[in-house]
Point group: C2
Amino acid sequence: MPSPTYQRIADDLRRSIVDGVLAPGAKVPSRHELARQYDVSDRVAVEAVRLLVAEGFVEARSGSGSYVRQRPERQRLTRSWYTSRRGGSPFRADMAAAGIPGTWESSTERVPMTPAIAARLGAQPDAPAMRTVYTFLGGGRPVMLSVSWEPAELTSGTAIMFPEEGPHAGKGVVERMAVVGQRITHAEEIVTARPALASEAERLNMRPGGTVITIARTYRTDERAVETADIVLPAERYAVAYDVPVRQGSLT
Amino acid sequence: MPSPTYQRIADDLRRSIVDGVLAPGAKVPSRHELARQYDVSDRVAVEAVRLLVAEGFVEARSGSGSYVRQRPERQRLTRSWYTSRRGGSPFRADMAAAGIPGTWESSTERVPMTPAIAARLGAQPDAPAMRTVYTFLGGGRPVMLSVSWEPAELTSGTAIMFPEEGPHAGKGVVERMAVVGQRITHAEEIVTARPALASEAERLNMRPGGTVITIARTYRTDERAVETADIVLPAERYAVAYDVPVRQGSLT
DNA sequence: TCGAATTTGTGCGTATGTATC
DNA sequence: GGATACATACGCACAAATTCG
């Protein structure tokens, strides 16, 4: 069972691209040319190029041509405890490491928890929560989305009720929760990847169908979960770095 | 600028799927039916369904029909130090947690380091290394790939030269390196996601174009890097979990 | 500024092969 | 074996964007 023709053409072009024969920015043969070169109908050439576009190798500009995409360099997001020291935000520290000014916009609302969030926070479904929606900006452009949930029970009526208002704004969850006596000792982060939702792709300036990394983060004290967030970032532009301490098994 | 017809059809179907109107396993209208319903050519219906297939919402079975795919449940891979205790392998522990027997195949060769690997290990390019290629199996099926590199200088001529042979086979890097006096204290893991290479998709039983999570892991002592590995797993079937210790800033 | 050529995006109708039921 | 459905392919057409003389 031979590969279909459009696959074979796509394979040829893909190899040329990864081998550098077709450099980033270079023009991919137009569909007329491909059709001629491979002696096929123009529709087949269209399918081949369409595949490469879906894979992110090629960017097609209507009226102009199709060009080899330059993949952006991946920026590293450090997700370890020591970036949250010094009262700064981890996000700002990461951006600073890349020489980019990091800022964010947010809005907070009091809403009932969804069932999934309630499970993560160990609360009753529909328990009241403060939900804060963040858009993180690197150099003014949106680069990361996050939705954070805190049990209203913990913060209602305190100075940290609204995460991004008051004297503790922008200080990070660990310091804020300390204000109400919650001593966070660790965070759980569950990382995976999936296709971007249409709304996410639009907000993050991604091509539709691109993939995002998601991090489900839950901050905990030794007793309970005090905050959980869903973080979304474009997989093409980011990698997340963890430092995992290794304890030698002294009992073996 | 109205969306093209095939997009509109795909949008309708996608919404039906995520809303549950079309349940997993349900049959998607055939292209003839779609063409009739939307009063378009069958080619347009083909494009619409093809899009959903590429997005992973639909599985097309030739001769039978197109069906709503049920997304597999994500299995959690715990990547924290405490799973490596007790002399077992972290992978086997994770699989056991899911009730699946975990095994692996491997082969080891002495080869020079690639430039990228040498940089990760802090070695000269082309320095000799022991490279071990793993295929991890869950219930007999391949679920994870990994390529591990160790500086030959550390293990040459010792009992742990071949990671999967001898008395220390299958014990994990931490215990093996302890045998040659290397006390591993932490691991760095850099996580990201990208489209699967054709060879990876085939080995992992993924659909072509699917996305994989990659983990670049480096084990270190306090002095140096002693092992590094590239781990590849299907994003649809896995999530990786980290437990991040949080140190309260006592100096602030 | 205009207009022609090029290129992509989308669409139509048809045809053939093959897998499934 | 026949009906159905998907996969691939051909050839053509037109709109919109871009390029360039």
